[in-house]
Structure formats: C-alpha cells, structure tokens
Assembly symmetry: D2
Homo-oligomer: 111 residues x 4
Amino acid sequence: MSSPIDELLQQLRQFRDERDWAQFHNPKDLALALSIEAAELNEVFLWKKPEDADPTRVREELADVLLYAFQLADKYGWDIPQLMQEKLAHNASKYLVVKAKGTARKYDELS
Amino acid sequence: MSSPIDELLQQLRQFRDERDWAQFHNPKDLALALSIEAAELNEVFLWKKPEDADPTRVREELADVLLYAFQLADKYGWDIPQLMQEKLAHNASKYLVVKAKGTARKYDELS
Amino acid sequence: MSSPIDELLQQLRQFRDERDWAQFHNPKDLALALSIEAAELNEVFLWKKPEDADPTRVREELADVLLYAFQLADKYGWDIPQLMQEKLAHNASKYLVVKAKGTARKYDELS
Amino acid sequence: MSSPIDELLQQLRQFRDERDWAQFHNPKDLALALSIEAAELNEVFLWKKPEDADPTRVREELADVLLYAFQLADKYGWDIPQLMQEKLAHNASKYLVVKAKGTARKYDELS
C-alpha cells in the first residue's frame, strides 16, 4: 500500500507530464519557484500581526511551497522523510539544548 | 502505528520545546524563516548551471525549508498531505491540460 | 561633474571587471543574488520585534540589496532615478489616496 | 538644489503620508515588502533563459524593490550613496582581486 507522500509524488508527476512541463523543471528553476511561493506565503502576513493573517490564504500558499519542495526532492530521487530526519538530527547537534534554550540566537552566536 | 509525517511532527515539537522556542514560533516568523531557508536553497544554484549545484547542499537546504513548512502547518493543526492534495486539485483546475500543455505561462496569461 | 549614482555604477563596473565576473552577471542570476541578499536582510529581523534588530547589520544587508539592484539596472542601461519615478507615479494611480488612506489592503482589494 | 535621490525620498514620504501608511512602515515589514518585490522580480525570469525575460516587467519589479529599499534606508535616516560606498569597499576587501578573479565562489570558500 502506498503512503500519502508516495501518492502525492505520483500525482505531481502525472500533473507535470500531462502538461509537458518536465522541460521547464530543472532543479534551479524549481528552487526559484519554491522561493517565489514562499514570498507569496509571506505576503499574507505583510503589514499585519501574525494572528491577523487569513488562514485560508496561508494554507493555500504553504501548499504551493510544499508542492514545489516535494517536486524538487523527487527530481533528485530523495526520500523526503529521511532527508528531513537527517537534517533535524544535524540541527539538534548545532543547537544543543544546554546552549540554545530560550534564545533565538543563531548557532554561530551561541557561547 | 504512526506515519513518517506524524513522527517528524512529534520530533519537531520536542525539538522546539526542549529549547523553549515556542515563544518565537508565531506563524509570521515561521513563514519568514521558511523564506530565508528558501533563499539559502537558491544560493546553492547562484551563478551556476542547474546541474552544477552541489546535491549535498541542495538536500540540506531543502530539508530546512521542509522542516519550517511542517512546523507552520502544525502550528495551525493542519493535515499536510490533505492540504497538498487540495491545492494540487485546485492547480489542476487553474492549469487545464488543454490550455497549459507545453507552455510555462501563468494561468492568467493562458488564452 | 558626475552624480553619486554615476560614481557608484562606475565603481561597480570596475569591481566586477577586476574580478572577471561579467561572465556570471546575467540578469537572471543578478535578480537571484538580489533576492538572496533580501533574505539576509530579513534574517536580521527574524524572531524579533522591529526595533530589536541590529541597525549595523540592517545597513550592511540593505547595502548589498542596493548594490545588486544598481548592477541589474546598469545591465539594462537604465537610468535609476527615472525608473523609480515612473513606478512611483504608476503606484500613485493604483493606490488612489481617496481609496487607500489608512488601509494596507492591496490595490485589487480596494473598493 | 536637491539631488534626484533626495527628490525621490521626498516624494516617497509624501506618498506614504497622504495614504496614512506610516503606521504600517516599521522596518521589519518594510524589509519583508522588499523581499516580496524581489520575488516578483525573480518571477519574471522563472522557467526562462535570462535573455527571454520581458524587460518592461523587469524594470517595473526592480523599481518596486528600489522604492522599498529607499524607504527602509530613509526610515533609519541613512545616506544611501554613503552606505553603498561603505559596503562596496567592505566587499572589495572580502573579495580580493588576486583570489576572486574568474571564480564565483563565496569569500569563505576562497583559498
């Protein structure tokens, strides 16, 4: 039985191929598309307090970010939960609890 | 049995709470953090042909984007595969195969 | 006598040519570099109230944004104050005082 | 006699105050607005070769980036050519000609 992630990837490939869009989907432009969607996500919050942003629009723009992120991972053939697990473990070692607790400082500013 | 996505969300909550970072994680700053990671992802491709970017760095920066995207969705209590499914269906209706095939034009420029 | 803008453009061209960087400076990558610097500017404000960001770092990152913006304009041979004047006049017609006063809504949401 | 930059700043202040927008223009949201315009600039190049982007749209989006960059500098009361001059001098010391010539590597990757 396929996972929800595998189903999404399968549908994204079909979506792309029905439109003959593989020709445009090099990783550099996929990453660029992702960052443009990230900006549209941020625009929902612009000039507003965090709690005043419209959740419906946040949800739609966040979805577009995720759809491009999944396509970029798929372009390289990566397992998505695995790459996230690895990076989370790496971040945990950069931001040790004993040093990072209660501060938003970057890892290279932690003493 | 929990899914890989649920496991990741569980670990992300633990990572955040061990560091007492919930105080910083309002949705506006989470979206901002996501877009900053998206820029770091793009930096891997800067001044380069798509195929010359270092896959190891692409993988790491993409992971950071996904980790913030998951945290933002979790902040609102959303089901991640479901919000992606909904948006993919919506995009399919914006980009009809008959009009969008083989062109990279935006939906509002399709005739 | 040359203007401060002309002097900067002259120095930027020299900076680029001494390093033999014109080969990398196509407009697509210049725009990408600009957006990466914009993200570094935003990072100075991340997880913070606006007034808590370090002005010294804001100034440096804003400068990098401006340096790439000037180089991109110069790539096309445009007069910078003129293109800004034109867009400001255009924005004034999109955001009529009578409709836009006191609201942060986008022009297509103004009634 | 006022410079083109001073004239633009004067007009930007008037544009803002006529619309009563100073209430929204904290530096964090100005920086965010700038990065959103930077993304719109990048969208003109998305899925395209650099030379296939529409110069008219590049010009308009670049202008919006510059208008926000100027407003952010003005918020802090900074002299724009001066902050650019200082950063350009700083970048010249980070990217020494003898090391950086002909390579697009970042300063911390130069040997």
